[in-house]
């Protein structure tokens, strides 16, 4: 959820809640006030009527008032309490039943008992209450609308430096040698944040360069002695005076040195991929790449008499570092070749955003989930470093690709999904 939307929606919800509660309270207070008011009116009318009855002849008013809101009856016995109830009565003007509040009380004038009924129309006060309520609602709504836009405008303005920094960070890559610099803002918190970011980025860049230098230096330092050992052994192997046994020992040493240097290469490559040192990406047509690699490997497949079936009509284009793309395809093809039978099969096919490599071969002797781990070998083959598929996995991870493995119909199936 976007920051703006989050703030705005929370703000809106809280405001709506407050307005609703306030509205309800207001509505009921208003009702209560009107009730109270009507009660007051009824009471004052009662006092007036009692006074009137005491001062005037009772006969004249026994018929009630002309507006049919006061009715007076003579009764036999006096009752204690006055009652206030709600009722419906016929309104002459409106010609319909409208709500009235009715007060019934008894009083004694000249030893005569009277029951007096006063009717007070509620229609005006209800109308009043409704009008006030509607008016307030509209007012609330307008305030809400205004607050919403003002708030959005304000937060847009206030957060602008933040979004500027964010877009700068988004476009920044660690491999960029240029220093990132944020604009001065008029908000001190953002200035602080920007300064911290600048410091962090500078530190990261230094660390990255150090790391890069270290990996390359490590490679240099290890490869040079290895080169010396290898070349000395090669010279020795050309010595004609060696005995068979000496020659065999030398050969073993030579082979191990070769393996060591391959391991070193592979581990360095892994750390370089993990350190995201391959940043330059281009769109690589994987189908074209596979075809050209296959051409190169044609012979190796032919020698093992592997039946190749290639279906690469659907183009798969992936944005990736070209060197990594090369290594990725090399490793997958090598894998399909190395672990294949003589007279085996390799089926390569492409779908939309998907390339499948299916090859025959002995079923795995290891847990398939461990297949992509480092130094895991299916059979302890001496030539294999056990890093090929680990490198493949790292390349996929670094380029947001997926590599799936499953075994079905006696085929090892690797699927590359972009």
């Amino acid at each position: 959820m976007k920051l703006q939307n989050k703030i705005n929606s929370r703000f809106l919800i809280v405001t709506l809640l407050v307005f609703t509660v306030a509205g309800v309270i207001f509505y009921f207070s208003l009702g209560h006030l009107i009730d109270h008011n009507i009660k007051g009116i009824l009471k004052s009318r009662r006092t007036n009527i009692i006074q009137y009855l005491q001062h005037n002849k009772t006969d004249s008013i026994l018929h009630g008032s002309p507006d049919r809101t006061i009715f007076i009856h003579q009764i036999a016995k006096i009752q204690d309490r006055s009652r206030i109830t709600d009722t419906l009565a016929f309104d002459v003007r409106k010609k319909e039943l409208v709500p009235f509040r009715k007060m019934v009380f008894t009083t004694t004038v000249d030893n005569n008992c009277f029951e007096v009924t006063i009717l007070q129309s509620l229609i005006e006060s209800e109308d009043l209450q409704a009008i006030i309520f509607y008016f307030m609602s509209i007012l609330f709504f307008l305030i809400l609308l205004a607050l919403f836009f003002v708030n959005r405008w304000l937060s847009d303005k206030a957060w602008k430096p933040f979004f500027n920094s964010l877009s700068l960070l988004k476009s920044w890559k660690i491999s960029d040698k240029k220093q990132i610099s944020f604009d001065q803002t008029d908000i001190s918190e953002f200035d602080q944040l920007n300064r911290m970011l600048e410091e962090m980025i500078q530190k990261m860049q230094t660390d990255f360069i150090n790391l890069k230098e270290f990996t390359e230096n490590a490679s240099h330092e290890i490869q040079t002695p290895l080169a010396i050992i290898k070349s000395k052994l090669e010279l020795l192997l050309n010595d004609n005076e060696l005995s068979v046994l000496q020659h065999k020992r030398l050969r073993d040493a030579f082979e191990s040195t070769t393996r060591l240097s391959k391991l070193n290469d592979a581990l360095l490559l892994l750390s370089k991929i993990e350190n995201k040192q391959f940043v330059e990406k281009v769109d690589v047509d994987f189908c074209k790449l596979i075809s050209s690699r296959l051409e190169y490997l044609e012979e190796l497949f032919a020698l093992k008499q592997i039946e190749l079936s290639v279906q690469l009509d659907i183009r798969v284009i992936i944005s990736i570092n070209p060197m990594l793309a090369d290594i990725l395809i090399n490793n997958l093809l090598s894998n399909a070749l190395k672990h294949n039978f003589n007279h085996g099969k390799l089926i390569i096919s492409s779908e939309i955003n998907k390339i499948t490599f299916a090859n025959t071969g002995n079923p795995l002797s290891i847990d398939p989930s461990k297949l992509f781990k480092r130094f895991v070998k299916n059979n302890t083959s001496e030539e294999s470093t056990g890093l090929g598929l680990a490198i493949t996995t790292e390349i996929c991870k670094a380029n947001h690709l997926r590599l799936n493995y499953n075994f079905s119909n006696d085929l090892h199936i690797f699927t590359l999904v972009s």
Binding site: E216, T224, L300, L303
Partner: protein, 232 residues
């Protein structure tokens, strides 16, 4: 040997700070009949290329007093005809591209096989000295490297691309034991350990050997204790 390169005139400068490696390279190359000189720093290297003329320079990128690429630049200025091979421990694509852009002819990553280095030097000298038009004659075998053709007694030998590469590699390193590893790497590069490549080396050599034996009646290849092969 029947190579038409006048070996006694080929001078090579090896610029490498690692003494032992430098000695090994020189000892191997001197065994090939080249005259070699060594320089351990850019300073000495610059001095030498300004004083003498070399046919080829091998230069390490990481030198104690700077980047070997500056020496490439320097050499291109004073002797543009000298062949340049960069040897580097950094398998870095940037360095490789930059080196080749500056005019280097080849790029080898450490550790390399001496036989590979030798074959690259030979191919470089062939291209540089004779503008590519050169034939190599070994016994009854005549090779036209530029056309990638092999003739036995004026008869074209049907040969595959890989077999040709293999033959040229052996002819560049006569009388040397070529290990299976170096042959596999020479033929398939990064794919050398892609497969049971030693079997393939074996099968390629078997085919080549058979073809040559049929036409010439001579056994050129010798297996050396399972380590590799020798071309005689």
């Amino acid at each position: 040997m029947g190579l038409l390169l006048k070996k006694n005139t080929v001078k090579i400068l090896v610029v490498e700070d690692e003494k032992m490696l430098c000695e090994t390279i020189i000892s191997y190359l001197e065994g090939e009949g080249y005259i070699c000189e060594q320089a351990g720093t850019i300073g000495i290297g610059t001095e030498k290329i300004n004083l003498y003329e070399y046919d080829c320079m091998l230069v390490d990128i990481g030198l104690p007093d700077g980047n070997g690429l500056s020496l490439v630049r320097e050499l291109k200025k004073c002797h543009p005809d000298t062949g340049i091979i960069i040897i580097s421990a950094k398998n870095s694509l940037d360095d490789k591209i930059m080196g080749l852009d500056l005019g280097a002819d080849d790029y080898l990553t450490k550790p390399f096989h001496l036989s590979e280095l030798n074959s690259r030097i030979k191919s470089l000298l062939r291209r540089r000295k004779f503008e590519g038009q050169k034939e190599l004659i070994v016994g009854q075998i005549r090779i036209l490297p530029e056309n990638r053709q092999v003739f036995i007694e004026n008869e074209l030998l049907p040969i595959t691309k890989k077999e040709f590469d293999l033959l040229l590699y052996f002819i560049s390193n006569p009388g040397r034991v070529l290990t299976k590893e170096s042959i596999a790497e020479h033929l398939w590069g990064d794919f050398a350990d892609a497969s049971d490549s030693f079997d393939f080396v074996y099968s390629h050599i078997k085919n080549l050997r058979r073809k040559l034996l049929e036409k010439t009646g001579t056994e050129y290849f010798r297996n050396v204790y399972g380590t590799g092969y020798l071309f005689e």
